[in-house]
């Protein structure tokens, strides 16, 4: 079991302060490492999507590029994903405000995480609906370069969202069991990751929508 109270502002001083107060085992260095880890990971993901984007720009410059009309359900999906980011942020703030004493805060945060989870799943279902919509129009992966990129980018984004959903399932379970079973850094990092997925989706959506 481990506790952590490191705040991004001054992790070291806060850690030592807490050490004196609680005299518990601290894993602050590892918490800082996982914070670095999540940013480094997001950097790698950004780089991958930058590579896909540059491939898209090159491909868009060739002669056979045709624009497809994107399914309108995508607007709904975008709103759902952005809403899920908002609900997770509510949970994060509730937890931050109640940490490390109240367990009621943890339960309320857990409820918001659960809501985020549902919204995340709804987003995935919505993306699937968008694919079915395109299929119904006879637009498949290999139909046109535009459709190739649309299917590919949405699929790879969805795979990343699934990783986030797995983390949310874990967090929701832990929060229901009470905050003491939770590493706060894990929660913070999941929130960063999830927000990133929202931003990434907005970018990808615009990328697929725009007509150069």
């Amino acid at each position: 079991m481990s506790f952590t109270i490191a705040t991004p502002a001054n992790p070291h001083a806060a850690a030592l302060h807490q050490a004196k107060r609680n005299s518990v085992v601290l894993t602050t260095r590892h918490d800082r490492a996982s914070r670095s880890g999540i940013w480094v990971g997001l950097f790698a993901i950004t780089m991958s999507f930058a590579a896909f984007s540059s491939a898209l720009f090159v491909r868009e410059g060739t002669t056979d590029w045709t624009h497809i009309v994107l399914p309108s359900v995508l607007y709904l999906n975008t709103s759902i994903l952005l809403a899920s980011s908002a609900t997770l942020e509510v949970a994060r703030r509730l937890l931050a405000a109640s940490w490390p004493f109240a367990s009621r805060g943890a339960h309320r945060a857990g409820a918001w995480v659960f809501l985020t989870l549902l919204l995340g799943l709804a987003f995935c279902v919505g993306q699937f609906a968008a694919w079915r919509d395109l299929r119904a129009q006879g637009i498949y992966l290999a139909t046109s370069p535009n459709s190739s990129f649309f299917y590919l980018l949405t699929l790879i984004h969805a795979l990343h969202v699934f990783a986030g959903i797995a983390a949310l399932v874990y967090l929701a379970g832990r929060l229901t069991a009470g905050h003491s079973a939770l590493r706060r850094s894990l929660f913070e990092n999941t929130a960063i990751y999830w927000h990133f997925m929202s931003v990434l989706w907005v970018y990808l959506f615009l990328l697929c929508r725009m007509k150069l």
Partner: protein
């Protein structure tokens, strides 16, 4: 007269004892059970050794393939007993077909670049020594670390599988240029399934490398011991850290490229295949793609990959050289900044692989300039190594010989880079043996010299036994002379116009120069056989070598402050405190002419 240049009282981050005592309570149980200890181990040291073992298996396989290629080049009708068992179609009756020569070439390049030059100096030694050199108990994410190795191992298995399928390994070379790599069966033997295995293997390799790089970066940033500031990290750690930053960017681009390639091959998309392409008398059912796109994506990875191979070796040999010189390098910081500049510039030069690809000639000039610029930090490094040698009483042993050999290879192979970096000269030299000689020396053998140096230096720490020095020196001289005998003639053959990847020169205009090829082949066979000495030394010393002391080289960095081999938690549950810069040599210490990084004693330099 006595001058005090360092003080034990200087600590950068808070009171060491407060944090140390708190963290000492954090005790984990040692791993139990055979699987957890030796197979799916979370211990960075075991994972490092696993990477080393994988690199060792790959390097000997790759060497065997190069032997087969060299034999085929000069004696095309030679029968290789038993080869027909591996591939009925590729070597009927044990005689290598032209296509199978290309298969061997592809597998040689892929194994060597990915599974040897990336794995051995970076993943193997980096995993083993980076956490120890910064005073950490393990990597930041041990589970990712384990996944990283096993993903890489899966990648290796998938690649090796290509040897055993009826289709055989792909014939596209390690760069797998589109569109031939993207169209499938029509592109020749090995291109239907073998090529797909290649794509899957490299995609897996990317994932493994990304996990590894992420771990290295987070570990270096956040798990350093008290007092271990960034500038107090040994040069080897710096090199691994910079390399992991490069690898993170590079493999994050190669992975999408492999995904696009696999989709083109199996899902009917056209990312890389242009319209109206006729291959093997068949119009390809794709349209609109850009073969140049693959080259851009591949070389955006591919050139940084060159530095992923060489930078760790630069760090390793710097680390070893300082120890053998018994005095610091001319500048610790300039070495670090030079390696950083190389890492940064490595992203601006990928187009120099594509001068003749049909790319705009103006962009060729734009890529030529940073390519020539990158020689500046490389030259600075060489000058620092050579300048530090001046006036030093270097201790000659196998490790320092290979470190010196590295400099020799790096300079000899690097000089030809000046020629290739200029588009006007590259038009003539492109795709000749000049290029092959260049990169084999500067990236391949130089990097391997770093691995050899690291092995002779750190073997005692990794196993608790010393390697045999006589065999080590013999191994060095055979390898050193052999390498020059093999790759120097490559340059001359390239200047004559000897094109790479041709499977035979017997009936061509190259016929008068077949003697050179025969000489190279004989040298390659002998030098390769010389590597068996190394293998023997490795295995013999592992079991029968002289027991090693904790610090046999009188070295200063943290890995020498713990037992050989280190316990599973490196520092026995304690957290070391660092008081000094990494290379306090040539000083008056309590143990001799050096002061270890974790020694609280004051550093006293004697002068006159």
């Amino acid at each position: 007269m006595v001058t005090i240049v360092g003080s034990a009282a200087v600590l950068e981050r808070g009171d060491p004892m407060a944090e140390g005592s708190v963290e000492q309570a954090h005790v984990q149980a040692p791993p139990e059970g055979f699987l957890r200890r030796y197979v799916f181990s979370l211990d960075h040291k075991v994972i490092g050794k696993q990477y080393y073992g994988l690199a060792l298996a790959s390097v000997f396989t790759g060497m065997l393939l190069s032997w087969l290629m060299r034999i085929h080049l000069v004696w095309p009708a030679a029968r290789i007993p038993g080869l027909e068992l591996l591939s009925k179609g590729g070597a009927p009756g044990g005689i290598i077909t032209p296509e199978y020569y290309l298969s061997l070439l592809t597998m040689h390049g892929t194994l060597m670049v990915f599974f040897v030059l990336t794995n051995a100096p970076f993943a193997a030694f980096g995993n083993y020594f980076l956490p120890i050199q910064i005073g950490a108990e393990d990597m930041a994410f041990p589970r990712f670390n384990m996944m990283s190795f096993w993903t890489t191992f899966a990648a290796w298995l998938v690649l090796m599988l290509a040897f055993f399928i009826p289709d055989g390994p792909p014939i596209s070379g390690w760069t797998s240029y589109a569109p031939l790599s993207a169209v499938g069966r029509d592109a020749g033997p090995g291109m239907e399934y073998g090529m797909s295995l290649w794509g899957i293997s490299i995609a897996l390799f990317c994932i493994g490398s990304l996990l590894g790089a992420l771990n290295f970066i987070a570990t270096t940033l956040d798990l350093r011991a008290r007092g271990m500031t960034l500038m107090r990290m040994p040069l080897s750690t710096w090199a691994w850290f910079i390399t992991s930053c490069i690898a993170l960017l590079a493999f994050a681009v190669l992975l999408p490229a492999c995904i696009l390639l696999i989709l083109d091959r199996h899902a009917g998309t056209s990312f890389f295949i242009p319209a109206g392409l006729v291959i093997s008398d068949r119009v390809q059912p794709h349209a609109g793609g850009s073969p140049l796109l693959w080259q851009h994506l591949f070389w955006f990875f591919g050139h940084p990959e060159v530095y992923i191979a060489i930078l760790p070796s630069m760090g390793i040999i710097s680390h070893i050289l300082v120890n053998s010189l018994r005095k610091p390098l001319l500048s610790h910081k300039v070495v670090i900044y030079s390696m950083m500049s190389i890492g940064f510039l490595s992203y601006m030069v990928w187009g120099h692989h594509m001068f003749l690809s049909g790319m705009n000639p103006t962009s060729a000039l734009a890529f030529s300039f940073p390519t020539l610029t990158i020689t500046i930090p490389a030259t600075v490094l060489v000058l620092i190594w050579l300048g530090s040698l001046y006036g030093a009483r270097i201790q000659i042993n196998s490790a320092s010989l290979f470190a010196l050999g590295f400099i020799s290879m790096f300079v000899a192979g690097g000089v030809s880079g000046f020629f290739l970096a200029q588009p006007s000269i590259d038009i003539y030299l492109h795709a000749t043996y000049f290029v092959v000689g260049h990169f084999h020396m500067v990236m391949g053998v130089a990097s391997l010299f770093g691995v050899f140096a690291g092995t002779y230096f750190w073997f005692s720490k990794m196993t608790g036994r010393m390697m045999d020095e006589t065999l080590g020196k013999l191994h060095f001289w055979i390898t050193f002379i052999g390498t020059y005998c093999i790759f120097m003639p490559f340059h001359y053959l390239g200047l004559i116009g000897n094109v790479r990847r041709y499977q035979s020169f017997v009936d061509d205009f190259m016929a008068p120069y077949i003697g050179w090829h025969k000489f190279i082949t004989v040298c390659a066979l002998l030098t390769g056989a010389g590597q068996l000495i190394f293998l023997y030394n490795l295995i013999y010393s592992r079991f029968k070598g002289k027991p090693a002391a904790e610090n046999p080289w009188n070295a200063t960095s943290l890995e020498w402050s713990i037992p050989s081999p280190p316990p599973w938690n490196n520092f026995g549950g304690k957290h070391p405190v660092v008081y000094h810069d990494p290379y306090q040599y040539g000083v008056k210490g309590s143990k001799g002419d050096f002061v270890m990084q974790d020694s609280p004693e004051q550093v006293i330099v004697s002068g006159d």
